[in-house]
């Protein structure tokens, strides 16, 4: 009997303890409608939070919580959450994953916002609107644009009395300069990241090739220009002009650039903030547009804000997305210099956000942009492409053979998508 009383007592104690805990929580979240916003870039958190606090002031009763997941785990987490019906109310979406989420009905269409002029389609580049349109409905509000430029370290160029890269540079200028730097200093002149966008996607485009056909139905790896680009990169590797795949896997190209072990590198516009935060290099670096090969081209990609189709607060979520795609928000984004705003009129503000940088190196490429290669199952063929291109970079396969295999396997995957 004594035991029973004791255990009952302790049970009562436990429930009273947990009771206290839950009471506290409900008071703060009872009235407010909470919107969760999922994103992956911690660098952008301060800007986004400042925009959100403005939104919260204008819309009392709505609270927005920002949830950051690093990019490498973002899609895994998002997909798991979506499967369990627990997706965040609003989330960042990118081109490779867009069709997958749109097709699975995970995204709430926001065409009504376009129709009632809350979002002005013409304020954004046509390509971005196209990228996020599915079934003739706009599914995500354009947030920002990213593209690639050639960054260089002025100090290294000065010490060797070399001419800085400029907007009239050609591919050959870059390669000869890189070789010269390597010969004189022993350090690499140029580094590529082997990640796709920022490196071989750009080079394939500059050579006039394609990763995927514009209608997304066939692979671009049978295109002689694509094969020529892969061959050229392999040659750079063979001549040890650029660090090997192994060296880059060990230390990323952007880290090599920041530690001044390499004089030039291709970097996406999202790296501007990172480089400018680095006290050691921030006054020593600048950028130019990508050097010209066959044609001026760069992969253009951009993020969008998508709303979860099953969100409990669709009206509030739409309000927030409208607010985030307004000119004011894009101006705030532009001033911070973190990303190129998708809003065309705000882009000029962005190019002046860092007066000591030639940010036109990025914006000049926007008119020549090539849509980021993506389809329904982007991840599947990307995996095949990476596997076989890695074999080329490692010297296990010839570029011709690898491109042939990629072409065949990629076409098979793309065929299944229809």
């Amino acid at each position: 009997m004594k035991k029973i009383i004791l255990s009952l007592l302790s049970l009562g104690l436990l429930t009273s303890l947990t009771g206290c805990g839950s009471d506290e929580k409900t008071t703060s979240s009872n009235k407010d409608k909470v919107l969760k916003l999922a994103l992956w870039d911690a660098n952008q958190k301060p800007v986004i939070e400042s925009m959100i606090s403005n939104f919260e002031k204008e819309n009392p009763g709505v609270k927005v919580v920002v949830e950051i997941t690093p990019f490498s785990q973002y899609w895994t987490k998002l997909e798991t959450a979506a499967t369990g019906g627990q997706l965040q109310d609003i989330f960042w979406i990118n081109a490779p994953n867009f069709t997958k989420y749109a097709k699975a009905n995970m995204i709430l269409p926001i065409q009504d916002l376009v129709d009632n002029k809350s979002i002005n389609k013409d304020s954004f580049p046509e390509g971005m609107i196209k990228m996020y349109t599915y079934d003739n409905k706009l599914m995500a509000a354009p947030k920002d644009i990213d593209t690639t430029a050639l960054w260089y370290n002025k100090e290294i160029f000065d010490s060797l009395k070399l001419q800085y890269p400029n907007d009239n540079w050609t591919w050959n200028d870059m390669v000869t300069t890189a070789k010269e730097i390597k010969n004189k200093t022993g350090n690499y002149g140029l580094a590529l990241g082997f990640a796709g966008q920022e490196d071989y996607y750009e080079i394939i485009s500059q050579f006039g090739g394609r990763v995927i056909s514009p209608d997304k139905k066939t692979s671009g790896f049978s295109d002689p220009n694509t094969i020529a680009a892969v061959k050229e990169i392999k040659e750079l590797l063979d001549e040890k002009v650029i660090p090997s795949l192994g060296e880059i896997a060990d230390t990323r190209s952007s880290d090599l650039f920041q530690s001044q072990k390499v004089a030039m590198t291709y970097s996406g516009s999202w790296m501007v903030k990172q480089y400018m935060k680095n006290e050691i290099i921030k006054d020593k670096v600048d950028l130019a547009k990508l050097p010209l090969k066959t044609k001026d081209a760069a992969i253009i990609h951009g993020l969008g804000y998508a709303i979860y189709s099953q969100t409990k607060h669709p009206e509030e979520a739409k309000k927030l997305v409208t607010y985030l795609s307004s000119k004011d928000s894009h101006d705030t984004q532009a001033k911070s210099g973190i990303v190129i705003p998708a809003y065309i009129e705000s882009q000029e503000i962005w190019t002046e956000s860092y007066p000591n940088l030639n940010l036109h190196g990025y914006s000049k490429m926007l008119p020549n942009g090539i849509e980021y290669p993506a389809s329904l199952n982007t991840g599947k063929w990307e995996d095949v492409m990476n596997e076989y291109l890695n074999k080329v970079w490692m010297g296990e396969l010839t570029p011709e053979k690898a491109c042939e295999i990629i072409n065949e396997k990629m076409n098979a995957i793309l065929k299944e998508e229809v």
Binding site: K3, S72, K100, A104, M106, L245, A249, D250, D383, N390
Partner: protein
């Protein structure tokens, strides 16, 4: 009398209920669910269709599965014996009377309570070709710097070293408990008979430690077959050493979470389950021959 018995057993069931319910929901139910999913084409966002044994058929002809199996076996073959030898040595040393004993015990146990991700980050830094401590140290002896984690020939072994190091602490605590359970009088008697420390170790310590050693071995085998976090953190997808260090669970992860081929991934998990079960069964059979009680 009967009523009393019933009351007692009721209390017992009530007390173990939270655990049993927890295990049922989070282990046993998912286990059977996984078995079923391995017969479906479960993809992204949870839609699926029953497809019979097609996943297993595909698995049989997938060269990546064999590569993953090979890597995992290399990993197990190195990390289990070496790990146990090291832990036994450390445990024996920490069982003697030396100055600062508790400090050493804490130091050796620290990796066991550190997050694997943190361990992986630190070791990645140490292995780095440009800035790593290990290469700086080797340079002093005239060796050239190597990219340990992105060289297909060294990556898996580099990870094995870290795994052994991080497991020493956990194994050590169990072995230490085993060592302290050995009565001192055996050693005293042996000393009188003229046995040295080496003879004592092999004739007294080892046999009497065998129950703890057996437990540690079984657990190490199971844990090693399931290795994922360290490899995942240290060798990423674009690393040229990826293929030569990808383990079964890593292979499972890429299929389940990167390619959204969940049904196929479920089949991989079932195969891994069968392998681990077979190994544990063999060990339990061997137990009767090798373990002294």
């Amino acid at each position: 009398m009967r009523k009393d018995k019933f009351q007692n057993s009721m209390w017992a069931y009530l007390m173990i209920a939270p655990l049993v319910i927890g295990i049922g929901i989070f282990y046993i139910f998912p286990f059977f669910q996984n078995l079923y999913f391995s017969l479906t084409n479960l993809g992204a966002f949870g839609q699926f269709k029953y497809i019979g044994f097609k996943n297993y058929e595909k698995l049989m002809y997938d060269p990546k599965m064999y590569q993953a199996l090979k890597n995992t076996f290399v990993y197990v073959l190195f990390s289990v014996p070496l790990g146990i030898t090291c832990s036994t040595l450390v445990a024996t040393m920490l069982n003697s009377k030396i100055k600062g004993l508790t400090i050493y015990r804490v130091l050796y146990f620290l990796p066991a309570v550190t997050m694997p991700t943190a361990i992986a980050m630190v070791w990645r830094w140490m292995y780095n070709k440009e800035f790593g401590l290990l290469n700086q140290f080797l340079n002093n002896f005239g060796f050239e710097s190597r990219a340990w984690l992105s060289d297909p020939q060294t990556a898996l072994y580099a990870v094995i070293v870290v795994a052994i190091w991080s497991n020493i602490g956990y194994n050590m605590v169990i072995l230490l408990a085993g060592l302290q359970g050995i009565p001192k009088m055996y050693y005293e008697a042996a000393k009188i008979d003229g046995a040295g420390p080496v003879t004592c170790f092999f004739k007294i310590t080892l046999p009497l430690l065998s129950p703890s050693l057996f437990f540690v071995t079984v657990m190490s085998f199971i844990n090693s077959f399931q290795i994922f976090d360290l490899v995942f953190m240290m060798v990423n997808r674009t690393n040229p050493a990826f293929e030569s260090s990808m383990t079964i669970v890593y292979f499972f992860y890429t299929n389940a979470f990167q390619m959204s081929e969940r049904g196929y991934a479920a089949a991989i998990a079932v195969v891994l389950f069968i392998i681990i079960m077979a190994f544990t069964w063999i060990q339990l059979k061997l137990q009767k021959k090798l373990v002294n009680y």
